[in-house]
Structure formats: C-alpha cells, structure tokens
Amino acid sequence: MNKLKLSLSPHIHGGDSVRKNMFGVCIALIPALICSFIYFGLGAIAVTSVSVASCVFFEWAINKYMLKNPKSTVTDGSAILTGLLLAFNMPSNLPLWIVVIGALFAIGVVKMTFGGLGCNLFNPALAARAFLLISFPVQMTDWPVIGQDFTTIDGVSGATPLAIMKTAIKTKNADILSDLPDAWNLLIGNTSKSLFNDGPIGGGCLGEVCALAILIGLVYMLVKKIISWHIPVFVFTGALHLIDPMYADPVSHILSGGLMLGAVFMATDYVTSPMTKKGQIIYGIAIGLLTVVIRTWGAYPEGMSFAILIMNAFTPLINNYCKPKRFGEVVK
C-alpha cells in the first residue's frame, strides 16, 4: 500500500473542470459553425481552421519559448475556443494572413501578456476583432453574399442588414429599411433575398448570420449549466430600451449583426464578466444600452463588440461594488 495522503477538507470534488467548460462552449458553437459552412462555403472553413490552428500554435509557442513553462496550457481548450470565436468575428473572405495576425494579437497581446487564462482584462476574440477592424478596415467590412461556395477574394460582397440601418440613420431616410430581410429570414440567416430583390444583400461575419443556431447553442449551455441565463437575457433587455422604432423594429435589431453572438458567447465569457448575479445584470443591461447607442449615434454600424469591450473594463469595478447578498442580511 502506498503512503497515506493527507490534506485538509474537502476531500471530494464535483468533477467539473476548465476543459469541460471550454469544450462545452465549443460544442454549443457547433450549430453556428455548421451554419456558417453552409452559408459561406469553403471560405468559412478556411478562416475557421486557420484561426483555431494559429491560436493554439501561438499559445503553445509562447508558453514554451517565452514563458518557459514546463506545462503546456493548450489542453484546457481555451485557445481553441478563442480561435472559434475569433473566426466568428471575421468575414469569410478575409485574407488568411490577417487571420493569423488577429490570432497573434488575441492570444499574445490580450491573453498571455496579462498572465494567461483567467488574467486577461478584455475578451481576446473581441479585442482582436477591434484591432483588425481598425487596422484593416477595408478587408474587415467586405462581407460576401451568402450562398457562394467560394467566398474568397473573388466573391461578390454586399451590405449587411446593419449597414442598411446605418445608412437609414445617416440619410434620415426610412424607406431604405424595406430592403431589410424580415424577422424570420434574419433568424435563419437567409439575408440574401435574392429571390425577391435585385441586388444581393451581404450576410455579415461568420457567426452573425444565423441567430437560430446561436439560440440552440444558448439552450445547450443553459442545460449543461455552463452559463447562467442572466447575461444574455439582460443584454436583450438593455438593447430593447433604446431602440428607436422609427428606424428599425426591435426584433430586427436583436436578430441582426453580432448582438446574438455577443450576448450569448462573448459577454458570457467567464474571465471578463462579473462574478455575482447582481453584477451580471448590470453588466448585461449596460452592454445592451451601449450597443444600441453605438449603432444609432456612433460612427460604426456594429456596436456590440465595442460595447462589450467597454464593459469589460468596468468588470473589476462591478466586482468590487456588487457583492452577493450575505447570509444574515435578511432577518425575517
């Protein structure tokens, strides 16, 4: 018999692990992944695989050669998740070298410089998307139309629903909104409307088109208790407050662009969201409000990623001031 072990209680563990959670989120992303392959074809596959491979490679390389860690952290699944989410933030015709740069920024600058998993202040995928948007604005806003098999540089590109909304606001012309796909089409991502209209309308980034797939992922994560319902629900609530019905109806806002993806997968990222339920509610509402503010009055048509990044910076403050209700505060 080996030597007896000795440590302090508790002596059992629930079996939950970082890997289980990360892979659970990856599984929840599968429906959206399949949708993006169907809609965008090979371009999507290329962008996704390059993104995941470079994120994993950079994390392994930085760990081994720069930090000289004996243990590699790539097995906990967080690099793969960052890779997937980063891919979902890019249009499928993005040149692959830009994808690699994005991965390097996400893993190297946003995650590893702060200390690795659990220490980053900003969401790596979103921060990388913002970095790429500012550095390569043309390539990042050149969305291809849905339904093409080869959506690389030669693909046809068009405007996204949000771009249409932005144009409406800028030109103060509500008529253009009739070009928007209706709610059902936004839900399943069929934003091409090539059957009923002349000009093809572009889709958006990989993860933004099919809201239904993202909702399926949300249900999966809630059932597996990976996230709680507070942040997604309150992001929607916050978004609903400021929408001006004159320009676009609330349902269109929620179903278009990255709001669905952001609310379900980006804002609920463990590391950058608050730890208490009260904090999560405030965080969700603020993100929703900020998104709509940026969409309506800001310079960019898409406001979700910036809203989340701004609120990420507020998370430590929210953590400090939103304490859970202590036992004993209520004396009935």
Binding site: K3, L4, L6, S7, L8
Partner: protein
Amino acid sequence: MIEVILITVAVLGTIGLVAALVLFIIAKLFTVKEDPRIAQVNELLPGANCGGCGFPGCSGMAVACVKAADEGSLEDLKCPAGGNECMKQIAALLGVEAKEHAAKVAVIRCNGTCENRPHVIKYDGALNCRIAHSTCQGETLCQYGCLGCGDCVSACSFGAIKMNTETGLPEVDYDKCGGCGSCAKSCPRNIIEIRLVDKDKTGMVVECVNKDKGAVAKKACLTACIGCGKCAQVCGSDAITIENNLAYIDAEKCTLCRACEEACPSASIIMLGKPRKEIKKNNATAKKADSNTNTVKEIKTTNVRPYSSPIKISFEAPLLPSQQYLLAGVVDLTPIAQATVSDNQQNSKTHSYDAPLLPSQQILLGK
C-alpha cells in the same frame, strides 16, 4: 487651410497652458513639507521594506534616523539588510557617529533531510507551510521539523534563502542574508533563528528543535537532538543549556572550540559554513535488527578531537547493543589482551594487560 492649423494650435496650446497652470498651483498649494534629509537617507537604504529594523518600511527607518540624529546619535538603529556600511553612510550624511553592530544571520535549525527523516505520509494540500502545519505534524514522524513548503523562501526580499529540492530543506546564503527576520516570522514552527555570528559569519548551532524525548526523536530523524547532554558536559565556556530534551548554544558565550560538535552522538551540532560531520548510518537505531548477530571485532573511532587521531581497539566479546549505541558506531569485538594506541605523531604504544579488559574498560579506552 492655414487658418485651421493656426486655430487648432492656438486652442490646444491654450488648453495646455491652462492645465499646466492649474497643476502648478495645486502642486504648490498642497505640498507636504518634509525634511529633505529624510528623502536622502531613504536613498541610501536598501528599499526592500523588510521590517528588520523594527520600523514600517525604509521610509519609516529614514524618519527615525533623522530624528535620532537630531537627538545626538544613531546608536540603537540598525538596518540589518544594509549592514554596517549602510549605517556608516547614513551617519556620514547626517553628521553623527555610527556604531558597529554585530552581524546576525538566519539559521535553519533543522537537518531533517529526506535521507535523515523518512516520510511516512504524503501531504497533498496547498503548498504553504502555515496550512501544512495546521493539517498535521508533517510528512514525517517529527512534529517540530521543517515542512518544506517554502514560506520562508517567499518571505525573503533579498533572495538569500532558497529551497534545496534534494534535501527538502531551505538553505541560507550567508553573503546575502542580513538577519532582517522576515523568514523567521513566516515559519510556523519557529525553526529559523536570527543568531549573532562572528566576523566570518560562522558559529556553532544545534540543528534541531525537537522537544520530544530522545528515543522518540531518534525514531523520527537520524540527526535529532536527543537531549543526552554530552555537549553541555564538554563545553568549556558554559554556553550550552539543555531544556525540554533539546540543547541550545548561547552564541554570545560560545568560543567556537567545536568540542560539542565532536561530542554529539547524533551529529546534530554543526559549525556554520563548514562541512558537516559524517552521519553514522550504522547507529543503534538503524542497525537494531542485526546488531545481535554482528560480531564486532574491531572498531575505529571517528569521533576525533582536533588534537587527537583515531584509536583502534579490539574487543574480547561482542558488544551489547547498548554498548554499541554508546560508542555510536561500533560493530564488532574480539577479545583483547593488549591494545595498541597510536596518536597523530605516529608514536604507537602497545599496552599489555594481565587479564582481558572488561567491555566497560574497553569503552573507556575508546572514548
């Protein structure tokens, strides 16, 4: 076009000027007047904020130094990390005399290496000595000894103490250690002592804090102090006291003659900085199982005093285990009617005896 640039420059320049003015006024209004010498003394101090001087951080020490200098002398103040050179510099700056303080270093009073002190259980919890201490008596049978989780290593601001992964004990680098006491405060078992040492940073130390009875202590660790008192007997300067089955050497009275080191049957006493005595593995504890069948024919004592050399003795009858234990390492006996004694001047003398020596007489000769 050019007006745009001019207006921009003018507006930004004005904003900048106004901001600078506001900052300047605030800086002047709200400055705290401080004696400039305090900042100067602070520069000379190591800046580690170890607390060894007894003041809250180096800035606290700087304030105290300036205050003491105004009152006349820097006598009671000492920065252990900076040492005497640092105090001399501060004294020179403040225009007073500095006192030479005796050096102090941190001494680890435990020699329970992985070899000496076998592990009987495995500690699986968080690697923190305080937590391990509250869990159990440790991975060995000694409830006073070092736990090896490294609280002392993380407490040191000067990198003077490092964990030796082979032995499982911390080791002090006496060149870097100034005796500030951070490691001693962090040890939950008070194994680290800040002791006075002489100019060469050496001294005699009992490397054990085990207060259990001798037999119990010895079962746990080969080099445990068993409280036998031999060291106190041979000490010429009355520096050793035995309390709670543990010997303690008073650093102020010790003359570094090393007699206690030789006398100790467990090799518990060492001289700092010098190589350790050979630990006799074949002592009674280790060889209890086969000491009865061993016929000890010949012994060679290794307990040497600096002025004597090994003595070779042969015995008539096998030594009893208790006698072997006393001799600490004896293994065999043959009957003797004569003994040859030689000393380090290569003179040998052969004594003949009428009757074989009794074991007790042989033992006397052996000592």
